[in-house]
């Protein structure tokens, strides 16, 4: 540490890994939006086109990203490591939701909910078939009654090809 203080211009290295990722992401998202917005008509300050507001906003985002990234290397930054990842749960949950989206039109609400509940419950460390099936039955019944019958939303409860 004494070296840093003597050097006057302290050595820069990433101390806060989470902030470094955040800053890099802001830079990436900002430049993405900026490039995209550059295609739209900019206009003038008095008569703004569709691109004016988002373009400048994206530049602001890039600037903020640069600041966050810079600060993550600052000498005063508390060293923070990235959180441990385990993408299995996230993959199960998003996968189950996407699958629900795929089957809701062809199979109807009831079957889609049963599939969603079973698929999601498989990710639980305390999974049991009995509890899961009861849960699926209750949830599909509640949702079918609430959304389909009471609110009368335009939903197919059962597979269309059975009706």
């Amino acid at each position: 540490m004494a070296d840093d203080a003597l050097a006057g211009w302290p050595k820069r290295r990433v101390r806060n890994q989470r902030d470094a990722v955040v800053g890099a992401l802001y830079l990436a998202v900002g430049s993405g939006f900026a490039c995209y917005a550059a295609d739209y008509e900019r206009g003038t300050a008095a008569r703004m086109g569709a691109g004016y507001f988002p373009f400048w906003l994206a530049l602001i985002l890039m600037a903020l990203g640069a600041i966050v990234l810079f600060r993550s290397t600052a000498p005063g930054m508390q060293p923070v490591a990235l959180a441990p990842w385990d993408l299995r749960s996230l993959a199960w949950m998003t996968g189950a939701v996407v699958f629900f989206g795929l089957v809701i039109k062809p199979l109807g609400l009831v079957a889609a909910i049963v599939i969603l509940v079973v698929a999601a419950s498989l990710a639980s460390p305390t999974f049991t078939w009995r509890g899961t099936l009861i849960n699926a039955a209750v949830l599909s019944a509640v949702n079918a009654v609430a959304f389909g019958l009471v609110l009368g939303l335009p939903l197919d409860l059962w597979p269309v090809w059975l009706g």
Binding site: V21, G76, V97, F100
Partner: protein
């Protein structure tokens, strides 16, 4: 007619069995739907709107207003118990409300929300009745520059309260605004950032975004922790007592009073008054409460203040709709639609052309608030039971409500995929230890900020000084600047301390 004649007319209308019945029904159905995770007032009212088409105009508006309060309270309930804010105005309730629930004090938290809402709501209604007419003048003096500056102040204020570093929160807020611009631009008709996905022409659906970031991401992280054998993840807590202790009551009263005052004032201003009110109230608690050091770890003030503020604002939000015909929020836009369907043209003439509707609605707003407490205090026990359901049953249920909710808002399968995508975003934010709230707020206010910015610049012919030369706008911007400087100062201060500690 003076105020008492008006209120007498209102009571005569609202105290009929028919009106009371619809107020009760509205509150009950509103809470029931609103308590479903992820379904906030907007989604609830949008879904229940068709139920009121058959009713006469007074009953229809009374029922809709009651549904609104019910849904709002239901949203707070899920925010406290399940850490799922149904809409942005209860996003801040999550912080201390859920912390209280985890400590087994869900009952006092829910009671504080209900009692605070009743007190704030009663005051708000009284204010609407007294000030509806004179206040139009204040609202009239707001031009596009003031709207823009006000929303900026609201956003900055809500960010300054978070413990995150200011540059990170600001960046996330900007991303929220950018995401809100996806879809067709109302001014030019150009389709922006849709990537040629047809469903994105209508923009990103708020429900899918909010439920993905808060619901799906939370489930993924909880399961991950469970698998690692970390038991702290479960939402199951000791139920504890239902009603607040004397100590709780003593502590929440000042917070309720502050929240009521803040909410009443901010709600009058069209725009995202309700959301800004709850955030401003939280900031106020942080600065003014004697127990501010407890905020964030389950302080009752952190529930009572924002919940009072958002309910007071929910009442005074009606002022701009009833007197100017300008919907101040998405909910008010739905109310406007309902009035038009009932053949009432909202605007200054409603008071004179439909006095029984106007004053009947105002009185029933109060009755709706009372009904809410009468209905919900006994039911708190039922809501708390939600906590004792094992997580392996609860998380599929939340997942189902999120998925079905995202789908039913626009009957769009694409919104289900958006839900999954924002689940990934939310997971990333949790892992990077960034609070997602600024993203949500930026997303809600984004379109209004852009349009007021554009209009202000058009009126000033491209001269940026318009924001500083108009006194009201300049004052609002000065407030925002002070908040940013204070936040930058505190971020910097923390860093310097560490440097000094390392060197010393």
């Amino acid at each position: 007619m003076d105020l008492f004649d008006n209120l007498a007319l209102g009571f005569a209308t609202a105290m009929s069995w028919q009106s009371l019945g619809y107020a009760f029904l509205g509150c009950f159905v509103g809470t029931l739907i609103g308590v479903l995770p992820g379904l906030g007032p907007v989604a609830t009212i949008a879904m229940l709107l068709p139920l009121t088409y058959q009713l006469d105009s007074t009953s229809a508006l009374i029922m809709l207003a009651s549904i609104y309060y019910g849904a709002q309270y239901g949203g707070s309930t899920t925010a406290i118990l399940l850490k799922l804010p149904g809409e942005s105005s209860s996003a801040v309730t999550v912080i201390d409300g859920h912390a209280m629930a985890l400590q087994g004090r869900a009952g006092p938290a829910l009671s504080a929300a209900a009692i605070g809402s009743l007190i704030a709501g009663s005051f708000g209604v009284l204010l609407v009745a007294c000030l509806a007419v004179p206040l139009t003048a204040v609202a009239f003096s707001f031009g596009p520059p003031e709207y823009f500056s006000l929303m900026l102040l609201g956003l900055v204020g809500s960010i300054a309260l978070s413990s995150d570093a200011i540059d990170k929160s600001l960046g996330l807020m900007v991303i929220g605004v950018l995401l809100s611009l996806v879809g067709t631009d109302v001014n030019s008709g150009a389709v922006r950032f849709s990537g040629d996905v047809f469903a994105l022409r209508d923009g990103i659906e708020f429900t899918a975004l909010a439920m993905g970031i808060f619901g799906i991401a939370e489930i993924a992280v909880n399961l991950e922790q469970q698998r690692r054998g970390d038991t702290g993840a479960g939402t199951i807590a000791r139920v504890g007592r239902m009603l607040p202790t004397r100590e709780d009551a003593r502590r929440m009263m000042p917070a309720i009073a502050r929240g009521t005052a803040i909410g009443s004032v901010l709600g009058i201003l069209p725009g995202a008054g309700v959301t800004i009110a709850s955030f401003a109230a939280y900031t106020a608690e942080k600065k003014l409460s004697r127990y501010s050091y407890e905020l964030g770890t389950g302080a009752i003030e952190g529930v009572a203040g924002p919940e009072s503020a958002n309910n007071a604002a929910a009442q005074t939000n009606f002022i701009s709709l009833l007197t100017l015909g300008i919907p101040g929020s998405a909910v008010m836009a739905l109310m406007l639609g309902a009035m038009v369907i009932q053949n009432i043209q909202p605007g200054p003439q409603v008071i004179t052309s439909h006095p029984q509707v106007f004053w009947g609605l105002i009185v029933s707003m109060w009755i709706g608030n009372l009904m809410l407490v009468v209905l919900n205090l006994p039911l708190i026990g039922v809501w708390i039971r939600l906590l004792s359901i094992p997580y392996r049953f609860l998380f599929p249920a939340i997942l189902v409500f999120c998925a079905v909710g995202a789908y039913t808002v626009r009957a769009s399968v694409f919104d289900i995929y958006l839900l999954a995508a924002f689940g990934v975003v939310g997971y990333g934010l949790i892992k990077l230890s960034v609070s997602p709230v600024p993203l949500l707020l930026g997303f809600v206010l984004g379109p209004m900020i852009e349009s007021s910015f554009r209009r202000a610049m058009m009126v000033s012919r491209g001269d940026y000084s318009v924001f500083f030369t108009r006194p009201l706008s300049a004052a609002l911007l000065a407030g925002a600047a002070v908040l940013i400087l204070a936040a930058v100062g505190s971020t910097w201060g923390k860093q310097r301390q560490i440097v000094l500690a390392e060197q010393g």
